[in-house]
Symmetry: C2
Subunit: 154 residues, 2 copies
């Protein structure tokens, strides 16, 4: 069955539901043990005095339930001397997959990046997640084989 | 011979020299063909009305020549609900390497990240760049083996 849904920018009232989806994403990735965040910080970072992230959500037309989200921030290319958009999280509830909801979220962000004059739209994927990689390549993404992420946890 | 140097935040007067170092970095990575940026945009993105990046530089004590730089921006972890620092470029002129200048730039940024209450300090490395990987691991970094960067060029 196809769910009727719309894509829109998040509002402050959506923050608790978005945080629940972050928890669901962590569970799906078997990374729940890494979650130390909370809904108050998420709200401050989205809608406080000094916001550093943005979110768009997918919401059902029938009962305005949030069933997916994309959370992103501004990154930068020095070779282009141009802003880009980095997609930190893309998640659709498992029971709503296969209906083009993730694709709609991605497409909206590509439009946002173009409207803002960005040079690139980037994100990361786990190398064993073949369905995701196939989907991203189908959307026109290049998967960079040589770069590895380095991290110091503070 | 050990060069006396200091690490400091960049000023608007440094922008042309920093842009020249970006060109030198691109040449070192054999990626000069990808450079489409210019010094005016770099200045606006560093010191304009809506800055999105920051730079620290390494400067010789003797004649105030800029011999290295680190350019970074704010990223985000939804699992931590916390800002991080993402290091986009780290570069030291080849003739000044092996004197701890890159290490000093990295250490300063780790301090900055801690002062700002960041959860993580991250960057990317090419998987074939073994000396860089060894250096980063020596500095306490974890190289994440599974993540791949996806890119749509706009």
């Amino acid at each position: 069955m196809q769910t009727d849904f719309k894509i829109r920018s998040a509002t402050v009232a959506d923050v608790p539901e978005i945080f629940n989806l972050i928890l669901a994403l962590a569970e799906y990735e078997k990374l729940s043990a890494q979650v130390t965040g909370n809904v108050e910080n998420l709200q401050a970072d989205l809608f406080g005095d000094r916001p550093c992230i943005e979110v768009i959500v997918a919401e059902t037309e029938e009962n305005q339930k949030i069933i997916g989200y994309a959370l992103f921030f501004t990154n930068y290319s020095t070779f282009l001397t141009q802003r880009g958009i980095y997609l930190e999280d893309l998640f659709v509830l498992p029971e709503y997959r296969g209906q083009g909801i993730g694709k709609s979220l991605l497409r909206r962000l590509i439009e946002v990046a173009k409207e803002r004059g960005c040079g690139r739209f980037e994100w990361s994927v786990l190398d064993w997640n073949e369905p995701a990689i196939a989907f991203y390549q189908h959307m026109g993404a290049e998967v960079l084989p040589e770069w590895r992420i380095c991290r110091i946890s503070l």
